[in-house]
């Protein structure tokens, strides 16, 4: 008569075999001699198949096998939208703010940003104390 613990251990060895985990060859050999254990192994494999593939929707399968053409078309569409957007913005901008006659000159001369704060340096001021924030 097979002990319950021994039987449980054999099941766990079948599980380990099934899951690619380390196995005890001796226990596994004994387990695989049992028809019930072999049935368990086969049914667990089929269970895995259902769990992994049984309900994968077609949309997902199609998405994972999506051809490069779809991605290229996506980028192309994005490029067209971007180009049209920039063009429309440019035309709108020119209408709202017509370019002055001296536009070439002003473009060629980048202007420094305006100063946001003027600090007057005075001799004898202790800058490490509360005067720092003046």
């Amino acid at each position: 008569m097979i002990d319950g613990d021994e039987r449980a251990r054999e099941y766990l060895e079948i599980d380990a075999l099934l899951d690619g985990e380390p196995v005890d060859p001796h226990v596994l050999r004994v387990a695989l001699n049992d028809l019930g254990m072999r049935d368990y192994l086969i049914e667990a494999l089929l269970l895995r198949r259902v769990a992994r593939e049984g309900d994968l929707p077609r949309t997902v399968v199609a998405a994972s096998a999506r051809p490069r053409l779809v991605r290229v078309a996506g980028w192309l569409a994005a490029g067209i939208v971007l180009t049209l957007g920039i063009g429309a913005a440019y035309v709108q901008g020119r209408r709202a703010h017509p370019a002055p006659a001296s536009v070439e000159i002003s473009w060629l001369e980048p202007q420094a940003p305006a100063a946001t704060r003027v600090i007057r340096l005075e001799p004898g001021v202790n800058w490490t104390t509360e005067n720092r924030n003046r």
């Binding site: 599980d15 667990a44 089929l46 269970l47 992994r52 929707p57």
Partner: protein, 168 residues
């Protein structure tokens, strides 16, 4: 944002891309069994968004996979808690394989009857493809507990699906 920050950002983005390519399908399968197909799509995106914003752990491939699935599991649990839906809802669209569809639906119903942690362990192993150590890490339980719970889940599912044929 300095040059270092830009490089960090790009490296993070690259790692997220690699993880997305490697784990998208298993993560989706796992989530699909828990929250259903429609929500699984959104949650899968959320998983990888979080990954993109996170620092990928400096670990082995298995360790990183366990980390990815820990995020997926937490999101799924939060989703279930927030929506208070039934834990299992799978939308089946494969009309060409009615036998497989029937089996899949039976599996879904049987999964609903499992203890939540047994179900998680089973799905992380079977739908996600995680090793015992990775499942243990993802669920915060010992390796021996994973083995015991996985076996119990398999036995219960096997018993529940016995009347069905396995063909298809």
């Amino acid at each position: 944002l300095g040059v270092g920050g830009v490089i960090d950002g790009r490296e993070r983005s690259l790692k997220a891309d690699i993880l997305f390519a490697a784990h998208r399908d298993p993560v989706f399968r796992y989530l699909c069994r828990i929250v259903g197909q429609r929500d699984a799509s959104d949650l899968t995106q959320e998983v990888f968004l979080r990954i993109a914003r996170s620092q990928v752990p400096d670990d082995t491939a298995e360790g990183v996979r366990a980390w990815v699935f820990r995020i997926a599991r937490n999101l799924a649990l939060n989703h279930q808690r927030d929506t208070k839906r039934q834990p299992m809802r799978v939308d089946l669209t494969d009309v060409a394989r009615p036998a497989a569809q029937e089996t899949s639906m039976a599996l879904t119903e049987a999964l609903e009857r499992l203890a939540p942690l047994d179900r998680d362990v089973f799905l992380l192993r079977e739908a996600g493809g995680l090793s015992y150590d990775d499942v243990a890490s993802s669920c915060g339980i010992s390796r021996d507990a994973v083995r015991a719970r996985l076996h119990r889940a398999r036995q219960q599912l096997r018993a529940a699906l016995q009347p069905l044929t396995w063909e298809g």
